[in-house]
Structures are given as C-alpha cells and as structure tokens.
Amino acid sequence: MNIFCIGLNHRTAGVSLRERFAVEEGSVVSLLSELRREAALGEAVVLSTCNRVEVYGLSGDAEASARACADFLQRVAGAEAEFYRREQAEGARHLFRVVCGLDSMVVGETEILGQVKEAYAAALRCGATGAALNRLFQQAFRVAKQVRTETGITRGAVSVGSVAVELAEKIFGDLADCRVLLLGAGKAGARVARSLQSRGVRRLVLSNRTFERAAGLARELGGMALHFDQWQSALPDVDIVISSTAARGRLLSAGELAPVMAARGDRPLFLVDLAVPRDFDPALNDLDGVFLHDIDSLQAMAQQGVEARGLEVERCEELIEVHVAEFLSWARQRPDMAKPSLSAAP
C-alpha cells in the first residue's frame, strides 16, 4: 500500500479554477465515500480551502488511484485541471509543509493548520482513515506544533492589517476591551478595522465627511456612526484611531491631543495613519502614551515580517525532514506499507 497526494493550489491554478473544484463542507462525507469506491482507496482525506484542493490517499496502486481521483474530481467540478502528484516520502513531506504554512500564499500563516485538522476530523468521523493516514496526520500536527514553537516562521505580521493588530496587541494586550475610531470610509481603513475585530475588538465608531457612507459602513462592520464634526469628542474614550481620509491638511496636531491625553490618565492611544497626505501630525508620536504609525511604517514592518519568515524556512525544512524520516521508519515496520519505494530523498 502506498501513500499519495494529488491536488491543485494557488500556484498551479487560478482562483476561477480553484473555485470550481472547491468542496463544500456538507458534501465532504459523500465525496469521500464515492472517491474511495471509484479510485479504490483504502484510506482518504480531502482538504479543500480557498487556496488548495487536495486528496490524500492510501492505495495498492498509487499511480492508478491518483489518476482515478483526478478524473473523478474533474467530473464533479465539470472542469479540467493539471493536478500535482506526490507519492510516499514526497507525499508526507508535502503534507508537513502544508500544515506548517510553508506551502501557503502567505508563508507561515497558521489558519491552514486548523483547516487540515477539520479535514482530517471529517474523514476520521466517517471512517475514511486508517492506521496509515491517522499516523501521517497526527505526525503532521506534531510537526506544525514543533515548527511553531521552535522557529520564528509565524512571527511578525506580513500585511498592513496584521501589523496594526500586532502593534495594538503589544500596547494593550487583550483587544477585547479596546474601542476603535475609524476616520474615513475607505477600503484600507475598513480592512484594518476588520483585522482588529477578528482579534476581539467589539466596539467600533465610524466617522466620515459624508455621514451616510459612515452609517453604511457602520452597518456593515457592526459599529456606530458619528458626524465628522464630532469625531474629536470621541478621542477621550477610544483606544485606537484608524484614519484614512482624503483631507488635504492635518486632522490632529500635538497641541490638540496633549490636553486629551492628560484627561485620559495613563491609558495609551494608538494612532494608525493610513492616509496620504497624512492625517496626523508626526509630532504626536512624541507625546507620552501616544503611539503613531503611518502607512510607510506599517508597510516596512510587513515587508520585514515577510523577509524574517523567509529566513526561517530552512530551519522549518530541517525539522520537517526529521519527521519525514520518523514517519518512514514507522511505515517500514508495517507489513501492509510498500517498503522499497519509500525514500527520504526530497
């Protein structure tokens, strides 16, 4: 019996093709059942995310089963695609790289681990897995945990939104009690607000020169709209201000904020200036308890995060190789697993 994986991902297929092959959560069980029958699979797991659709299987004839899987998926999707195929050690290595986020669009992202866990749990529930895939996936989760703990692959934010979240968390810790004021109804500001909401922020106030746009976005984001001539009155009560207006001049100067900070006591204020030209006077950053970051600073941090993760990839690959070897060693002791073709070579 051989382990194999076939699939397509963000590198091999565009989104228009990937969405055709995407498997809905509710149809995974029936799909697994049909797939196992048609492709003669002893065990199978289907992983479907926005960036990939993959089938992990165990079969006596991996090549024939992989071909049958590809035919089946194309028939269900009603489209043709080029599938990649990884067998034996390569298949194990591929899964380990996927769960560690090394094969993701944003290297080191951690969402994929949860998605793989869900895919495995679904297959386990309907009895589609056995000793081989159980061992493979359990080992994959161990690799992911070790890589997260022992390397910096998940460290540092790699987008403007996640950088803003990381800074906010280094100021306030838990964001659940933070109040956010969003100035301007642009997409960039809304994206950052959403990122903050995804990390626990519950209270959001929006203000825009056109009140109706603020009200519309407030409905969409679950916040409260405020007339633009009143936004400064909200300053004593908010913790984070995101600004992305098209104002030609500065909206806030150090002279205006200093008395507000005195009234706030010891509570820090985080200012995120996404506007060009900038909405906030850079001198605000010199005030005690005020932390100001503009779009250049956020983008530079995101770029730094990308580079830092790139440097960690090699360490992750080394750890993965140790686990691939461990899995192969286990597989060699199994009489039902193919021995000669299991190779640790990449």
Binding site: T149, E150, G152, T154, R155, G156, L167, E169, K170, I171, F172, G173, G265, D266, P268, N285, D288, G289, F291, H293, D296, S297, A300, M301, Q304, A308
Partner: protein, 263 residues
Amino acid sequence: MERYLLAGSTFFYLLGFAYSLLQLGAGKFRPGRLNLYAIAGGFVLQTGFLYLRGHAVGRCPITNTFEILVFLSWSVALAYLVVGTTYRISLLGAFTAPLVFGLQLVALLLPSAPAAARRGPPDGWLELHASTSLVAYGVLALACVAGVMFLVQEKQLKMRVPGSIFHILPPITTLAEAMKRLLWFGVILLSIGIIAGFFIGTPIGRIKSGASMLVWLVYAVVLFLWTRNVLHSHRVAQYCIGAFALALVTLPAMYALGGMLAK
C-alpha cells in the same frame, strides 16, 4: 552542606540565565518554561540554605554581607515567582535570572563567612525590620526590571520599524500593571520594615534610618502620583529605575545592620 545548597542554587540560576540567552539569541518568541523551573529550583535550594543558616545563627540569617546578598537574591526570586508567573511574563525571568545569579556569585566569591554565633536572645522587631526590608528591596529590584522592560518596549513601539526584541517583550500595559503591583507590594513591605524599626531595642543610626525613609518616601510619592493619574507609566518606569539605584546606596547601611545583628 550549606555551601553545596548555595552552589546548587547558583547553578540553577546560571542555567536559567544561559537558557534565556540561548532562546533569545535564537529569536524564540516564547521563552520556554525551563527558565521558570530553573529559578524555582534555585529558590528551593536557597530556601534550604537560609533555613540551615537560620538554625545555626538562631535568627534570620542576615548577619553579614554574604548572608544579606543571598537573602536579597532569594527575595528577588520570590518576587519573580509570585509576580512573573501570575502575569505570565515569562520574559521577566530572563531579566531576573542574571540579577539573582550575579548576587549569588558575588556572595559565593566573598571570603568564607562562618555563621555568626548567637549572643543573647534575638530582637524580634529587629529581625522583622531587617527581613521585610530586604524582601522589599528584592521586590523593588523586580519593579526596576519591569521598568527597564517597559521603557525598552515603549521605545520599540515608538520606532518606525521596531527591532526583533519587540516581538519578545510583553505588552506595555501588562508591564505597567506588573510595575504597579510590585510597587504596592514593595512599599507595603518597606512600610512594615520601617514601622518595625521604631520598636527595635537598639537604636539605629540616623544615616541609615534617614536613607531608608528617603527611599520609602520616593516610592510612596511615585505610587501616590501614579494612582492619582498625575504621573504617566513612562515616568514611573524611570522613577522605578532611579529609586532602586538610590535604594542600592542604602545597602551599606544594611551591612551595618548585619554587623549589629551579629553582636
């Protein structure tokens, strides 16, 4: 036996220090729990040493510079175990380990100091005064460490692109909260020590009592102004460092106290 316990605890602290350095050097985001275990191990052995020494001298073992340094180091470790683990500021351990290791090392390098023989019954007030004051200094040393961490993290947050230490240090609000708790704890202990000092049978020198009162006053004023929102955490962190430097000046006075206890 005593020296072995002390050497063992110093080894544990060195282990915690070295482990933290290795972790930070490798850019690890979450320092492991080994640091906490190392400090806890060192603390247990230190407690054993102080227990045996206390039995030997028949009182709180702070009769000479050697014992005072060990007791101070024990106090810092105690404060870390209480505060560091409560607030899960594991990195505080990375900053604490070198401090307790340094204090112990200096103590070990001092010429072998035999336990002072008991001369008459101990003065309970004097022992309460000396021991609570030393524990207070240990707690305030940790407040100083938290202050340093606060200022470093605050500077990182003000930079256009923070350095790698930014990812390792805890949030500044957490550090400010730790500073506040440590200041309260330290000031309360210092107050108990000073009050106990008024009941000591043997009068304490004016310089020593004046220095202790000055240190207490600085900390109490800082804490009062902070709770009244007059001082910002940034200034409090600076005062925590400055006031502890001032407190260190009073250590020679503690030595005098040790001499007095030995009499």
